[in-house]
């Protein structure tokens, strides 16, 4: 028996030795192969298409013009991404929707783990949207006052007979619609619709059927170029009006929105002196630009890099201004 076992042992040993030899060579040859003039840059792509557009356009410029080695990560926005920047795992976030202002995240800014490097040129708008075709029959829906008494237009299986349904937004977005509905005295049932793809699935299905739908939405968003939407006018902002649903106070006004969406770099990258830093700092474009690229990627299903290249080729002057 021992003899037979030894025989089996030799076979396995040979196998193990072969694998070990390969492994040893692999270890020896790994690493130390890539080193570009500009060095490595890590950009973080977030879960909305606009973010993808930002990242791939900047990636194109850094790779083609500065010969950087760009890596794209997909870390969840907010705290996970900020912690990653504090640990030097991510260099750049190109569009932050005020996550840096969330109380538990403020520390990342005050300790300079993440360094703001200005706006990316895009203004974020949040509000209540309806399909424009509804205005033909109900011109009063231009403002919230027109909704009052007509809520049952937005009736669905989920709302009681004379109430309407309001489709809430992605859990990661700022929302105060429950409080707004209550404080404005509207007979609407707020329905959470889950992550953005889920919400999109719901309102686009109703849109395609030409049915009424009222929902939380925002701009810039490439779908706004495909679907003709109208933003319902909510009460104008006044002093003391707040957007934080959980906080006590008056919520009965339109969303503050985001006059600027900020870019952030990690402290390590900020000190690196990489030529890429300059491009990131100067990177600035418009909602129309971003929607154009987003639409190529999501609407036309074009490869992300190709879509970015299309835009870059068309906007040489803008790109050159980032490089100066």
């Amino acid at each position: 028996m021992s003899d037979r076992q030894r025989g089996k042992g030799i076979g396995l040993f040979a196998l193990a030795a072969a694998v070990a030899a390969l492994v040893a060579v692999a270890v020896a040859s790994a690493g130390g192969t890539r080193q570009a003039a500009c060095g490595d840059v890590v950009l973080n792509e977030n879960s909305w298409v606009g973010s993808t557009a930002n990242v791939y356009v900047v990636k194109n410029v850094l790779e083609k013009r500065l010969k950087c080695k760009v890596t794209v990560t997909n870390i969840t926005e907010g705290q996970p991404a900020f912690q990653a920047m504090a640990d030097d795992k991510i260099d750049v976030v190109l569009e932050d929707w005020d996550n840096s202002l969330v109380p538990s995240n403020k520390k990342y800014v005050t300790t300079k783990s993440i360094v703001p490097v200005g706006s990316n040129g895009i203004a974020g708008i949040i509000g209540w949207y309806i399909p424009r075709y509804l205005l033909k029959q109900y011109p009063q829906f231009k403002t919230w006052k027109g909704l009052k008494g007509n809520e049952s237009v937005f009736k669905t299986a989920e709302s009681s007979p004379n109430a309407g349904t309001f489709l809430g937004g992605d859990p990661s977005y700022v929302q105060k619609d429950r409080a707004l509905i209550k404080e404005l005295g509207l007979n609407l049932k707020h329905v959470v619709s889950g992550a953005e793809p889920a919400q999109v699935a719901r309102w686009t299905t109703l849109y395609k059927q030409h049915k009424p739908v009222l929902f939380y939405w925002y701009d810039p968003q490439y779908l706004n170029a495909i679907y003709d939407l109208y933003r319902v006018q909510l009460p104008k902002r006044f002093k003391g009006c707040i957007d934080d649903e959980k906080a006590k106070g008056n919520h009965a006004c339109e969303y503050a929105g985001y006059p600027t969406l900020d870019k952030f770099v990690s402290s390590g990258f900020a000190k690196s002196g990489s030529p890429a830093l300059k491009v990131v700092k100067k990177f600035k474009w418009t909602s129309a630009d971003q929607n154009f690229v987003s639409n190529l990627i999501s609407g036309k299903h074009m490869d992300k890099d190709k879509a970015a290249a299309v835009w870059v080729a068309k906007h040489k002057a803008t790109v050159n201004s980032w490089l100066k």
Binding site: R4, G7, K8, I10, G11, A14, L15, V19, A21, L22, V25, A26, V27, A30, G31, E45, S47, V49, T52, T73, I75, T76, G78, Q79, P80, Q83, A84, A86, D87, K89, V102, P103, S104, N105, K107, Y108, T111, S113, A157, E158, P171, S172, V191, V192, S193, G194, A195, E196, P197, A198, Q199, A201, R202, T204, T205, L206, K208, I297, S298, H301
Partner: protein
């Protein structure tokens, strides 16, 4: 894919001919009737009293988060953080090293090595599975991502085994240790991964290490459980015989218990791999990269690509499942009896395989084969993958699904609305709006009737905890969805399980479907359902049903097949028809296994509550998801604890029945 649940099924035994539950159904019905009357009488008048809520709880949890972030950023934390840092560097390097190895071998070398190793230890079919998997990585154009995921799996599974097997052995040999560790295992499997992503990120930053840790938390429990079961299943007389021959404790383990439970240990490996693979997408959120990252970014920007990556994950899971299962069966010492010639042949095979792998890699490196499967080749750089074609096909399907003018939509939309208005909304209203004390009392009484005193006490404390944390309404909302999803899953699973037990073909067809539904990331297949059933809660229910019913099918099928053949033969001798045997003999005798199906169905449904929250179910799932993404740690933790409490309560109500019975028998 035999999950951990089967392991539990084994412990049930069929003794009584009178189903224990007959009388209880009437009692439960009476309790529900009283609850219903209370609901009609005092609708919405008695919500959970605010005096019985600890309001500062969320803020407390939030302050833990703030504290941790402060410690992390200001270089404090000392030893604890440096320990975590050490592990982080180690795990990061390990994954990177595996990844480099797979790339260094070149794509041809990796394929040949994987296939030959699978063939050598698992046989021809295993080899075919391996080559099919590598082919799918190449054809989908996701080679590099697949290798990254494979490397992550190698590291996560390896470390899980390293921790899980010793703990499993300890749990198998000591009942006390087993009892001490079980609550943690339950918690690790029910608490949604979303809830612990934040602490994981704080302790391990983002990247491979964080992904490995998140995966391990989920993959170690089945490893421990199956190992323990394997050790415990070694026949008592064998252990006693060895003891009487004077085997030491150590000899007992290494010469008797481990070799005899070898097959179970390998099945444990198999389960660990599958559980680990089901975490790929979540791991992608915190830097796991690979296919998980493709799914995550694709969901928003290119759903077809997300679906393609999801399919590749399934192929990888199925291949690893079949290969490890084949290895487990082929190398089982209790089944395999080798003579000298067979051993010599195997030895030669090993040498040939080793030589072939080494030879292939050397040649591949010499002629400059690239590390990753190329996207295009030849002078004209023609695409050699079928990615574009595949994406176009998937997109066509998606476009069809998203078109509300097709007949399919007419059917699914109506079905969805029916489930919503007839089942979900009434039940939701009943549970949320009924006076809190009748709901609480009713549920505890049901637990008492079905399972006995101790489970009832546990149920009471769990429900009270939910109310105390201030999430009573959300939890009742979730409970209504869990009940509806379980009901549908059990009805569907029972029917298919009975059918599968009677027909080999159906049984054969169910297995791959089961595999796909358990490993395909839910978010991938649920998006089409949102288009088909655009009514809030319903897609979440669909996700839960699809995830849970295969388990019910499997447990029901197994329960019916395990019915003692004597009983069936006796009935046949009396001239009973096939239908009569099924209805009068098999189903009553398999009652316990079927109840286990219900119990496991509920647990599986709870496991997808967060996914439901992401597709419009609201309730606790939404709170957890929002807690992570909006940096509200406390909110996420409270909702997660509530899900766990709900899970324990429901488990006691249903599983307690078997335990009470077992105690009766004992």
């Amino acid at each position: 894919m035999s999950t951990i649940t089967e392991a539990r099924a084994v412990t049930t035994s069929v003794v009584s001919h009178v189903p224990w539950w007959r009388g209880k159904i009437v009692q439960v019905g009476a309790i529900v009737g009283v609850m219903w009357l209370a609901y009609r009488g005092w609708k919405t008048e008695y919500p959970w009293p605010s005096d019985l809520v600890w309001n500062g709880l969320q803020a407390r949890f939030d302050s833990i988060q703030t504290y941790l972030i402060d410690q992390r950023l200001e270089g404090g934390g000392g030893l604890l953080f440096s320990l975590f840092d050490g592990f982080r560097v180690f795990a990061d390097n390990l994954v990177e090293w595996f990844n480099n190895l797979l790339v260094w071998l070149t794509w041809i070398g990796t394929t040949v090595a994987g296939t030959l190793l699978a063939w050598r230890f698992g046989g021809l079919r295993a080899g075919i599975w391996a080559i099919a998997a590598f082919a799918s990585f190449a054809i989908s154009g996701l080679w590099a991502e697949s290798m990254e995921t494979l490397a992550l799996m190698l590291a996560a599974v390896g470390l899980s085994i390293l921790i899980g097997v010793p703990l499993g052995i300890a749990a198998g040999r000591s009942r006390r240790f087993n009892r001490a560790i079980t609550p943690f295992l339950d918690a690790a499997q029910i608490v949604p991964a979303f809830a612990y992503l934040m602490p994981v990120v704080l302790f391990f930053s983002i990247g491979y290490a964080a992904a490995v840790v998140a995966t391990m938390i989920y993959a170690i429990p089945p490893c421990i459980r199956i190992t323990a079961l394997g050790i415990r299943r070694v026949p008592v007389n064998t252990v006693e015989a060895a003891a009487s021959m004077g085997a030491t404790n150590r000899q007992m383990l290494t010469k008797v218990q481990l070799p005899m439970s070898r097959r179970m240990l390998l099945l444990g490996l198999n389960q660990t791999i599958l559980f680990a693979l089901s975490m790929v997408v979540i791991a992608g959120l915190i830097g796991g990269g690979g296919l998980g990252a493709v799914v995550n970014s694709g969901l928003f920007s290119n759903p077809a690509l997300a679906i393609l990556a999801g399919i590749v994950i399934v192929v990888m899971a199925m291949a690893l499942d079949r290969i490890t299962e084949a290895v487990a069966n082929r190398t089982d010492p209790t089944k395999r009896h080798l003579d000298a010639t067979a051993r010599r042949r195997l030895r030669i095979e090993s040498l040939v395989v080793a030589a072939a792998i080494a030879g292939t890699v050397i040649v591949a490196k010499a002629i400059g084969v690239s590390g990753e499967f190329p996207e295009s080749a030849g002078i004209r750089q023609r695409a050699v993958t079928a990615q574009d074609w595949l994406l176009a096909q998937i997109q066509k399907m998606l476009d069809y699904v998203a078109d509300p003018t097709t007949w399919v939509f007419q059917v699914t939309d109506a079905t969805g609305t029916f489930i919503l208005t007839r089942l979900l909304l009434p039940l939701q209203a009943f549970l949320v709006e009924a006076p809190w004390f009748t709901t609480l009392g009713g549920l505890v009484l049901i637990a008492f009737v079905v399972s006995g005193l101790r489970p009832a006490i546990t149920t009471f404390f769990m429900l009270a905890l939910i109310g105390f944390m201030g999430v009573w309404e959300l939890a009742m909302d979730t409970l209504s969805q869990v009940l509806v999803a379980t009901l549908i899953a059990v009805v569907l699973g029972f029917g298919l399980g009975v059918w599968a037990s009677e027909s080999r073909t159906v049984s054969g067809v169910m297995r791959p479907i089961n595999d796909v539904l358990q490993t395909l990331p839910q978010l991938v297949y649920i998006i089409p359902f949102i288009y088909l059933m655009p009514v809030s809660i319903v897609p979440g229910i669909v996700a839960a049903v699809l995830y849970a019913f295969p388990v019910v099918v499997r447990l029901v099928e197994r329960g019916l097949k395990d019915v003692a053949p004597e009983a069936v033969e006796a009935a046949g001798a009396f001239g009973a028809t096939r239908g009569q045997i099924l209805r009068k003999v098999k189903i009553p005798l398999a009652g316990d296994a079927i109840m286990l199906g219900v119990n496991q169905g509920i647990i599986m449904v709870l496991a997808v509550v967060v996914i439901g929250g992401l597709v419009g179910s609201g309730g606790l799932g939404y709170e957890v998801a929002q807690g992570l993404v909006r940096g509200q740690f406390g909110q996420g933790v409270i909702a997660s604890i509530a899900i766990l409490a709900l899970g324990i309560a429901l488990d006691r109500v249903t599983q307690g029945a078997r335990q009470a019975r077992k105690e009766d028998i004992a």
